[in-house]
């Protein structure tokens, strides 16, 4: 994507960026990704995906494993370059938009040689925030996930749930406009999972502006958390469903909601 040789598609793209609604956080335009191994082109992982995610919108990407949902997330994160099409994050190409991004993974990815506090500081440190400021921010967010008492503990001394809460604090400390989440709660046991999900939802609901792309294979989790569910299959968008359950939500009761049941039955067969 270079502007030095303005081809037709580049110009179109540029025009699109200029005219795009400023309420859009992420625009995925006709994106295809094929992983070529040793120069041989293989079956595309994504083909012609179009998706626009508005500011403050919580979108869940669901689908069977291998359907391409993580690849789509990686394309938004700038970890994978689309073979065709383009992605913009807050109006910029992903690699230039990383200051807007927060990232959470299934495994907490805490660095084992940093204590809880310094793990929360990690992203701020990478972005060159001063020591005093990042300490203050980190302490604030550790407090928000009720882990101030654990600030000096090493990751191995924390339970799975605590570790993932440290990861939440690390993510929020960056004050991201866009949260990219790749099955962030998949590794937790059921009880821990619900309490971490609830914590996450509280943090997110307390401020309206953060967009979320949340990859999961768990349809129930997707409906409970998201505003919108995008079902991916064979590298395409198969369904795009608005959830429409009012917020704030209480995860303990959300599955009793009529709309939850409807969406669950509508999509379950396609996920299998």
């Amino acid at each position: 994507m270079t502007m030095t040789s303005p081809t037709r598609s580049n110009l179109e793209e540029h025009a699109q960026t200029l005219t795009s609604d400023t309420n859009d956080a992420i625009r995925i335009n006709n994106v295809s990704v094929a992983y070529g191994s040793d120069g041989r082109s293989s079956r595309p992982v994504l083909s012609g995906v179009n998706l626009t995610i508005r500011k403050g919108e919580f979108t869940a990407l669901v689908g069977r494993s291998g359907c391409g949902k993580t690849t789509l997330l990686n394309a938004v994160a700038g970890l994978v370059d689309p073979t065709e099409g383009s992605v913009t994050v807050m109006g910029e190409p992903p690699r230039l938009a990383r200051r807007h991004l927060g990232f959470m993974l299934a495994r907490d990815a805490l660095l084992p040689w940093r204590n809880a506090l310094r793990n929360v500081e990690y992203g701020l440190e990478l972005r060159g925030v001063s020591k005093a400021e990042r300490r203050q921010t980190a302490l604030h967010w550790l407090g928000a996930v009720q882990l101030l008492h654990a600030q000096h503990l090493w990751p191995w001394q924390l339970s799975q749930g605590m570790r993932q809460r440290v990861a939440l604090a690390r993510t929020w400390a960056l004050n991201p406009d866009v949260l990219l989440m790749d099955e962030p709660f998949a590794a937790l046991d059921m009880n821990t999972r619900q309490s971490v999900q609830q914590k996450f939802l509280e943090l997110w609901q307390s401020e309206e502006h953060r967009s979320v792309i949340f990859v999961t294979h768990d349809l129930g989790e997707a409906i409970a958390l998201a505003d919108r569910i995008v079902l991916i299959g064979d590298g395409r968008v198969l369904e795009d469903v608005t959830v429409g359950i009012e917020r704030p939500r209480d995860l303990e009761f959300v599955s009793a909601n009529r709309r939850y049941q409807e969406i669950y039955h509508q999509l379950r067969a396609q996920i299998g």
Partner: protein
């Protein structure tokens, strides 16, 4: 001290006394040979005499100076080379057969070469010991860098890490335990290389003393110096162990 530790300590002391007793018994019965049969008492009095004459001190210093120089030089070179190879798999593939064959060579066979090239001096000892230390530290550092979790890199890149930051904040800390373990082993091998070189030819050093005393059948002196070398090796290992525990506090106890 817990009860278990106490039992272990007592058993260790008893075993030591038993070994000393067996040694004394062998000396008294002239087993296996009158030349070899020297008692712990004779060995001790040699050590005392040699220490008070200054002979033991000056030779220990000569040996340890070479050990530390070789360890530091080859250690630094090994870390740099190991990290570089860990990050550049293609270069590593090119170099692997050469590195493997160099590392498989019985290094002591290089001693005469170094002595001819560098003279009967500290440089020759350092050179031999370095060839041992370098490869040990190289493979430790390389393995350390390789043990990086892809998720740490993925997260760091998305959070905005640039290449130098990835190196300093992820790759180096990841590699530290393996580098440390190899430096610890490397220190003992440095001692091995230096003493080996001294045995073949040197003007000073504990290895040279062993060569001299065994050629004159002063076996109590040989035993004394061997004991001293064992003590030095144990102390070096303990010091490294302490440093390691201090630096790697973040590891779960089972991994230490």
């Amino acid at each position: 001290m817990s009860r278990d530790t106490l039992i272990v300590r007592v058993a260790q002391i008893l075993l030591g006394i038993t070994l000393l007793g067996l040694w004394e018994l062998a000396a008294v019965t002239k087993w296996p040979d009158p030349v070899l049969a020297k008692s712990p008492g004779q060995t001790w009095s040699f050590l005392v005499k040699s220490a008070s004459s200054g002979q033991l001190w000056s030779n220990t210093r000569a040996t340890m100076t070479a050990v530390l120089i070789a360890w530091v030089l080859a250690g630094v070179a090994g870390v740099v080379a190991g990290v570089a190879l860990g990050l550049m798999p293609r270069v590593e593939r090119v170099l692997t057969p050469y590195l493997d064959s160099a590392n498989a060579m019985p290094r002591i066979a290089l001693a005469p070469l170094f002595i001819v090239a560098l003279g009967i001096n500290t440089s020759a000892k350092v050179a031999l010991a370095s060839t041992l230390v370098f490869f040990i530290v190289l493979s430790g550092a390389r393995a350390g860098v390789r043990s990086t979790d892809a998720e740490w890199l993925r997260l760091s890149i998305v959070l905005g890490a640039r290449k130098p930051q990835l190196f300093v904040k992820v790759l180096l800390p990841v590699a530290t335990p393996a580098i440390f373990a190899s430096l610890r082993l490397g220190l003992i091998y440095s001692l091995l290389g230096v003493v080996g070189s001294e045995l073949i030819s040197a003007r000073s050093g504990l290895g040279q003393l062993i060569a001299y005393y065994s050629s004159t059948f002063r076996m109590e002196a040989v035993y004394g110096i061997l004991l001293l070398l064992a003590v030095i090796a144990v102390v070096l290992n303990q010091v490294m162990g302490l440093l390691e525990r201090r630096l790697l506090r973040w590891q779960p106890p089972a991994d230490r």
